[in-house]
């Protein structure tokens, strides 16, 4: 899922400086599941903003709204009627939601209240670990289903660097060395030979390096009238 973390209150207050009336807009999908920007977090942040702005002698009027998915027109369109009332919308959705709001509504600016961090797996309650970088050319088929693009600090494709020790990455002792994990899987399946082929340089043009990516599926497009 897309995972995010709320920005510090001080940064949010700075973003909102000068605003009198604010709408805090949550999203009911990924950021709800990772406890960063769902209805509950919207309520908490809205209360914090009311209290803090009052303490600062510039009380803001703060309202709340959470839609099912902030990244789809049909879910955000109902917000349109109310938006004129606000100076600013503070979105607790991921970066896609924030931009969807700005693209759809020209009259009011939507600002980010969370940092979108990663495509992660909730490995246990309260812990999300990155698993995918959306590189556009999935190589999980060659690495026993474990991704070195997302999980190796140096994105190595031909095995572990010299900093792998006792299964741990040199960059952070809490991070497993992904090449140790891949090696262990290769042993498990008795297919070490598959790791001995030299992997060619990756085609990064399919990743962000090729410019913003776009998918067009003509089979799904509605016929133009």
């Amino acid at each position: 899922m897309i995972v995010g973390e709320r920005k510090p209150l001080s940064e949010i207050m700075e973003l909102l400086s000068g605003a009198q009336k604010v709408l805090v807009a949550g999203c009911g999908t990924c950021v709800t599941v990772c406890f960063a920007g769902g209805e509950k977090e919207v309520g908490i942040l809205a209360s914090e903003l009311r209290m803090k702005s009052k303490l600062d002698d510039h009380p803001m009027e703060v309202e709340e709204a959470t839609v099912q998915r902030q990244c789809e027109w049909e879910y955000i369109d109902p917000l349109l009627e109310r938006l004129d009332e606000y100076d600013v919308v503070l979105s607790l959705a991921c970066g896609i939601g924030v931009q969807a709001m700005n693209e759809r509504f020209s009259g009011v600016v939507t600002l980010p209240g969370i940092n979108t961090t990663s495509l992660s797996l909730p490995v246990e309650q309260g812990i999300w670990e990155e698993r995918c970088q959306a590189c556009g050319d999935c190589l999980l088929g060659t690495t026993f289903g474990i991704c070195p693009i997302a999980r190796c600090s140096k994105q190595l494709l031909n095995g572990p660097c010299g900093g792998s020790q006792e299964g741990v990455c040199e960059v952070d002792s809490d991070t497993p060395c992904v090449w140790q994990l891949i090696w262990d899987r290769a042993i498990e399946f008795d297919q070490v030979k598959r790791l001995l082929d030299i992997q060619s340089p990756k085609n990064w043009s399919l990743s962000r390096d090729g410019g913003p990516r776009k998918i067009v599926r003509e089979d799904l497009q509605l016929e133009s009238e």
């Binding site: 095995g159 792998s164 060619s200």
Partner: protein
């Protein structure tokens, strides 16, 4: 024409000639300063001159910004030393690497060390974006193709003079997974590496075990293997490497040797203790080189005396390896 000029060698570098002539080779290391101070490079070059066949010039070592490897290499060449340019995948993409290597070759560099690079989080710009467009194995193959096929990574022909490097890489027999380490060397050999230098060896048993695997796989016949050594100048430095440097194993015997060297010197005699520790560090390093010479498959040593260039000459001398061979 290139063949003629390099006398049948891949690059014609001094390091290549000495290794191919069957001599036990020595390479050294020179760390450029964190400034534009040419004098510091020249000073170190003069200390090191004549102690080894070639000297690695580090490329923003430990991810700290320093005078560039290629720039320092030119200064070193003016002093009559042969440099080995280091190139990491951390700071440059495939365009920049190839372009800089054309420049390095045009300026006279003939040895190259292809490295992944220390992660930027260890250095003085931890918020930097890293590149890692290629990994070290991909870089080796790219540079080999530039030399032997006369093509760039994209397949385009190099129009004119081709960079003919003697291609090196690093290997760490002390990192994990241990069983993968010899295979990783095999991959580097297949990619086209000519020589490798190992991580500092402070665990001879593990290194011997690694070399047994290497010899069994016949890799020592495909690649010149230079064993990495370095003098330790204090007990604190030994403990630091043992406990804090990733991918490094320091056996207690090294620390015991240093302790024994100062056992009879009172604590108040700081200078005498310091001197005794340094002498022990140099002596232990010379002895280790003698031991390494006896290990099958070891073609030479790579001496890393970081910020202690003065130690290299007595180490090489102590190992009975001066003067260095002259090979035409």
């Amino acid at each position: 024409m290139a063949e003629e000029r390099t006398n049948g060698h891949k690059s014609g570098s001094n390091l290549e000639r000495v290794l191919r002539a069957g001599h036990f080779a020595i390479t050294g290391e020179l760390g450029p300063p964190q400034s534009a101070d040419a004098e510091e490079v020249i000073h170190k070059a003069r200390l090191l001159k004549g102690t080894a066949e070639a000297f690695n010039i580090t490329d923003n070592q430990t991810a700290v910004v320093r005078l560039s490897s290629i720039g320092s290499a030119v200064l070193v060449m003016k002093e009559g030393l042969e440099p080995t340019v280091q190139m990491t995948c951390r700071d440059r993409n495939r365009l920049a690497i190839q372009s800089d290597l054309l420049g390095a070759y045009a300026l006279g560099a003939r040895n190259l060390l292809c490295l992944t690079g220390d992660h930027q989080s260890f250095g003085n710009h931890p918020t930097a974006k890293n590149v890692h467009d290629l990994d070290s194995i991909q870089m080796i193959r790219m540079v080999k193709n530039m030399r032997d096929q006369g093509i760039f990574e994209c397949g385009d022909k190099i129009k004119g003079e081709v960079p003919r490097f003697f291609i090196g890489a690093a290997i760490n027999p002390f990192a994990d997974p241990f069983e993968f380490r010899a295979y990783r060397l095999a991959k580097k050999a297949e990619a086209g590496v000519d020589f490798v230098q190992t991580q500092l060896i402070y665990d001879m048993d593990r290194f011997r075990k690694f070399m047994e695997q290497v010899v069994e796989m016949g890799l020592h016949e495909k690649v010149y293997i230079l064993a990495g050594v370095g003098p330790i100048k204090s007990i604190g430095a030994a403990n630091y490497m043992k406990n804090y440097v990733p991918g490094m194993i320091v056996r207690d015997e090294w620390i015991d040797g240093l302790r024994a060297a100062i056992a009879d010197i009172p604590k108040e005699e700081k200078d005498a203790r310091r001197e005794a520790l340094r002498n022990q560090g140099i002596k232990a390093c010379s002895e280790q080189i003698k031991e390494l010479r006896e290990i099958e498959g070891v073609a030479g040593v790579h001496i890393m005396a970081i910020e202690w260039e003065e130690a290299v000459r007595p180490i090489v001398e102590g190992a009975g390896l001066l003067p260095r061979p002259q090979v035409e």
